[in-house]
């Protein structure tokens, strides 16, 4: 029986991009449904009644919610190709720890960079760079967070790269100047088709952020 895989997401969502990358790594065909977050579809509300959020993976009619949980699910179901989590339990724990760090820190830190001004924005920029430096420390000299192979932490983090142009332009700073190792890692990931095809054009993201800023009255 062929698998029926549907993804509900919104194109600017870095969290949603994680799911697309994971499915692409596994070579899984799926139907993508774009959600208008201002006008959530009955399907989304039915499939994620608890949080009403994207992304949602619907596999043979059954929903899985929360991006990192979805990525782990994808890794466990389609386990033969391109494993995303390492096989050693300690390495897996490290991968889960760092993906959790990304979840706890990067989204909010990045959001503060584009949605604030003046002194508040300067604080936000510093916090954001500090977080990237911690991640650079975790990466060390390895090509990817998991070592030689692109994996779970890389999947959880690389989508934020599509928002860097928007952060940099909003904050008038260069992330590459502060964190060259991080950007080098990001460019390495972008060479993978699963990543380059799943991330939107940074200029398109910037236009989206500009519209959001207008809506929020930030300029």
């Amino acid at each position: 029986m062929a698998d029926e895989v549907v993804v509900l997401s919104a194109w600017p969502s870095m969290i949603g991009m994680r799911v697309k990358i994971a499915l692409a790594e596994k070579g899984v065909k799926y139907e993508y449904k774009e959600e208008d977050l201002a006008n959530k579809s009955p399907l989304l509300l039915k499939m994620n009644p608890v949080h009403k959020k994207i992304p949602v993976l619907i596999h043979n009619g059954k929903p899985v919610c929360e991006s990192l949980i979805i990525v782990q699910y994808i890794d466990e179901v389609w386990k033969e190709k391109n494993p995303l989590l390492p096989s050693d339990p300690y390495e897996r724990a490290q991968a889960r720890f760092w993906a959790d760090y990304v979840d706890k820190k990067i989204y909010d830190a990045g959001r503060k960079v584009w949605s604030t001004k003046g002194e508040e924005q300067e604080v936000a920029k510093k916090e954001f760079i500090d977080c990237l430096k911690v991640l650079e420390g975790a990466l060390g000299d390895k090509p990817y967070f998991g070592g030689e192979k692109f994996g779970f932490v890389d999947v959880s983090l690389i989508p934020f790269y599509s928002w860097f142009y928007a952060y940099e332009t909003s904050g008038n700073f260069s992330i590459e100047a502060e964190c060259p190792k991080f950007v080098a890692w990001a460019n390495r990931c972008m060479e993978r088709e699963s990543v380059s095809k799943s991330l939107p054009d940074p200029h398109r993201v910037y236009d989206f952020v500009s519209r959001q800023k207008k809506k929020l009255g930030i300029e």
Partner: protein
């Protein structure tokens, strides 16, 4: 070769207790190295430089941090009593509800218990809604994990003890059979498990501690 398993933990923390319950279920001997929360030890700062928090599991000297990450590590490292279901979909569900507890329930309960007046009323309404949603997962089951306690029951340990204590300190009667019948039944069953009884701190000690906390934050809410 003997396993070298140490836990940097704190008996009064639900997060630390999660790890102890899991290790005991697996029959793993470990050394508890109690930590002072206000005065972080060099050992804690060395092994969890990122968050500087307990619990930290040290296995052959290598640290694992974040209670849920530790639970998954314990599950994968030591076979025996399974904590997570085998089926990937069921595992995803357990992980989803664990995240729901950690990201929604805990902070909402905490905020509601330490607020006052109208803010507390609204907060408690939200708490009731969240707990009703959580208890729906117990429908037809003795534990979240089925017939035996599992990953999600362990993550829900907060509800088995700390929740009731915080509500008592706040003077709110929410945790009763008419409002949350399934959760109340689960609390009884969970607390009857020998491993849980051995691990959770004494209720009166927690009550005293949180009453002091509330007294300390009281003046801010004039």
């Amino acid at each position: 070769m003997a396993e070298e398993v140490k836990l940097l933990g704190f008996g009064g923390s639900p997060f630390s207790c999660r790890v102890e319950i899991a290790l005991k279920l697996k029959g793993i001997q470990y050394e508890m190295i109690p930590q002072e929360l206000a005065n972080k030890s060099p050992l804690l700062l060395e092994h969890n430089p990122v968050h500087k928090k307990i619990p930290v599991l040290l296995h052959h000297g290598k640290p694992i941090c974040e209670s849920v990450v530790i639970l998954e590590y314990v599950e994968e490292t030591w076979k025996g009593v399974p904590l997570l279901p085998e089926d990937p979909y069921e595992r995803a569900m357990a992980r989803f509800w664990a995240k729901f507890i950690d990201e929604k329930c805990l902070s909402t309960v905490w905020k509601a218990c330490f607020s006052k007046g109208e803010e507390q009323e609204k907060g408690m309404e939200e708490v009731l809604g969240l707990l009703k949603t959580l208890e729906s997962q117990l429908e037809g089951k003795k534990f979240f994990g089925g017939d035996n306690i599992g990953f999600l029951d362990i993550v829900a340990d907060f509800a088995a003890l700390w929740l009731g204590v915080l509500l008592e300190v706040a003077g709110v009667d929410l945790l009763n059979d008419s409002k949350l019948p399934l959760l109340c039944k689960w609390i009884e069953e969970f607390n009857n498990c020998p491993v849980v009884k051995e691990t959770l701190p004494p209720r009166d000690m927690l009550l005293k501690f949180f009453k002091m906390q509330q007294a300390a934050t009281g003046p801010q809410y004039k």
